[in-house]
């Protein structure tokens, strides 16, 4: 791997996970605030996360197995905030909050 490919690939992978986190963060905020901008932010971050995945697949020299893993992980990442939130609401039913 050339040094430029190393830099690009590693940074893309970091951005890939960071955007997943930002998607989760904005999804959570949206569940409380229900504003248009929070909903937009959640969708935008997930779209950017997918763009990072596509970039990694198209432009990096990663082996096919790892590219497949990125695709599968992106699919899982889409559902993680939703499923987690639903499970949190279900398990917290009846909790008294201050």
């Amino acid at each position: 791997m050339t040094s430029i490919h190393l830099l690009e690939t590693a940074l893309l992978l970091g951005v890939y996970v960071l955007l997943a986190g930002l998607y989760g963060l904005s999804y959570g905020i949206d569940r409380f605030r229900h504003r248009r901008w929070t909903q937009f932010a959640a969708r935008a971050f997930y779209a950017l996360h997918c763009a990072a995945a596509v970039s990694a697949i198209v432009w990096t020299p990663l082996y096919p197995g790892w590219k497949l893993l990125l695709v599968a992980s992106s699919a899982a990442i889409f559902f993680i905030p939703r499923l987690t939130w639903r499970f949190l609401e279900r398990t917290h039913t009846g909790e008294v909050h201050s």
Binding site: M1, A10, G14, V17, G21, R31, T84
Partner: protein, 464 residues
């Protein structure tokens, strides 16, 4: 207050003190990169680094023990069995740490024989402490495990959290036995060494901090036991489900078969997913409680734990975990960047949260807030993040120049180290290390003075 809780306070004081030693040793280690002739012939980088990483392990371990000794009697409804022995061993532990540190600084190296390993320096990363001290650590941990397990069995009320803790303490102690061998074959040595290091910091310690955060959440946010236990089991399943075979990401290049590239890379690539769930959970808790709590610093440090863990372990880890990248990033400042961020996020923030909780309860403070903790929080977190950023630049430079371009020879190594990107990044790292240190000083001051200066009205109110 239970004796166990008084012991907990002592452990936490020792932990926070060692945190300071770690920070000083870190500053010294960082300074050598800027001025390599500093203390040449007197004290060298490797000794400063040993002090830095060994106090890292011990301060966190003491912090965990302090937290457990604090929560245990309330959880089980009685004084832990054998607490008198733990009280004695605390002082023995502290004395041993001091002796080991003094020997590291003054004697530094032993002979290349068993006597040197038993008395001076074992030279294996994180577990350099001589065997006599390692034996002492085993005794302390066995007694700690006994305090927990024997008490839980005697009360016959092992809660879910206690049950997870009890089971976790057994591998925690057994794995530490790898602090003793001196295996000639480096591949063999490193194979087992990684069982200790990885299955501590990416497995048993994760479960331990999970238990501690479960106790803390119940007190800081009033979350029900049923909820924290459910989430503890989920966390254990996900973290150990990915982390046990994620051990393989340390087996890429040590002479092990190449199937570890696939297995280790795959499972460690999954490790960020549970951390994403942890972020969601943190946001849910923050939102439903509107960040209202009687202990704001504890809550904020717990939030920092969730986000720091995700960024340091998840984002930074994912950059370098796939084998094709790791081939070039392995053993560079990139690793250092990830390591600092991950340790801070996963463990440092959590122990500080517990320290604030303990201060509140020990001094019967109805509310913990103020300005000072915010400055400390900012200094420590901004200092750490900026250090990590500088190390990232240095690590990328090193990987690109020394490894990907230069062919990893001595000359390639020197070319990487002498690149302006690298050398300037190391200067910035030191500067932000000073910022971090200032944050630490404020933390110590805040913890020490919280609730000490009460008004007459407050004192009267407390007395009645």
């Amino acid at each position: 207050m239970y004796r166990s809780q008084k012991l907990a306070i002592k452990y936490m004081v020792a932990a926070i003190s060692l945190f300071g030693v770690m920070t000083l040793a870190g500053l010294l280690s960082a300074y050598y990169y800027i001025n390599p002739d500093f203390l040449f012939g007197i004290l060298h980088f490797n000794i400063a680094k040993i002090l830095h990483i060994d106090t890292l392990v011990i301060w966190l371990l003491m912090g965990f023990m302090g937290a457990i000794y604090w929560f245990l009697p309330d959880e089980l409804g009685r004084e832990p069995i054998g607490i008198w022995l733990a009280e004695i061993l605390f002082y023995v532990f502290c004395a041993a740490v001091v002796v080991v540190a003094v020997v590291f600084v003054v004697v530094q190296y032993g002979g290349s024989d068993q006597a040197g390993l038993w008395l001076v320096n074992q030279g294996r990363k994180y577990v350099e402490a001589p065997r006599w001290a390692a034996s002492g650590v085993v005794v302390v941990m066995v007694v700690f495990a006994f305090n927990v397990i024997a008490t839980a069995i005697s009360t016959r009320r092992a809660t879910g959290i206690i049950a997870v803790l009890m089971i976790d303490l057994i591998p925690l102690v057994v794995l530490y036995l790898d602090a003793f061998p001196a295996i000639t074959n480096m591949s063999h040595d490193l194979f087992w060494w990684w069982w200790l290091v990885h299955l501590w910091v990416e497995a048993t310690w994760e479960v331990l901090i999970g238990c501690i955060m479960a106790f803390t959440l119940m007190q800081v946010l009033g979350t029900s036991r049923r909820i924290v236990e459910t989430w503890l089991y989920i966390e254990v399943a996900l973290v150990l489900g990915t982390g046990i075979l994620g051990l393989g990401h340390h087996y890429f290049w040590i002479g092990t078969p190449d199937y570890w590239l696939g297995i280790g890379g795959f499972f460690s690539a999954l490790e960020p997913l549970p951390l994403l769930g942890m972020i969601i959970h943190a946001i849910y808790d923050a939102g439903t409680h509107h960040m209202k709590t009687t202990n704001r610093p504890a809550l904020y440090w717990m939030m920092a734990e969730a986000f720091g863990n995700f960024l340091g372990g998840g984002v930074w880890g994912f950059m370098i975990t796939l084998p094709q990248i790791n081939m070039y990033a392995h053993g560079t400042q990139w690793t250092v960047s990830h390591g600092h961020f991950a340790f801070w996020g996963a463990y440092g923030c959590g122990v500080i949260a517990v320290a604030y909780l303990m201060v509140q309860k020990a001094r019967a403070l109805p509310q913990v807030d103020g300005q000072l903790w915010k400055w400390s929080f900012a200094g420590l977190n901004l200092g750490l993040v900026a250090m990590v950023g500088a190390l990232l630049v240095a690590g990328i430079t090193q990987s690109m120049i020394e490894r990907a371009t230069g062919g990893s020879t001595l000359q390639a190594y020197i070319a990487g180290q002498e690149s302006p990107w690298f050398s300037e990044a190391m200067i910035l790292r030191f500067v932000f290390g000073l910022v971090f240190s200032a944050g630490y000083a404020l933390l110590v001051y805040d913890l020490a003075r919280l609730g000490r200066r009460r008004t007459v009205a407050q004192q009267t109110a407390l007395a009645t």
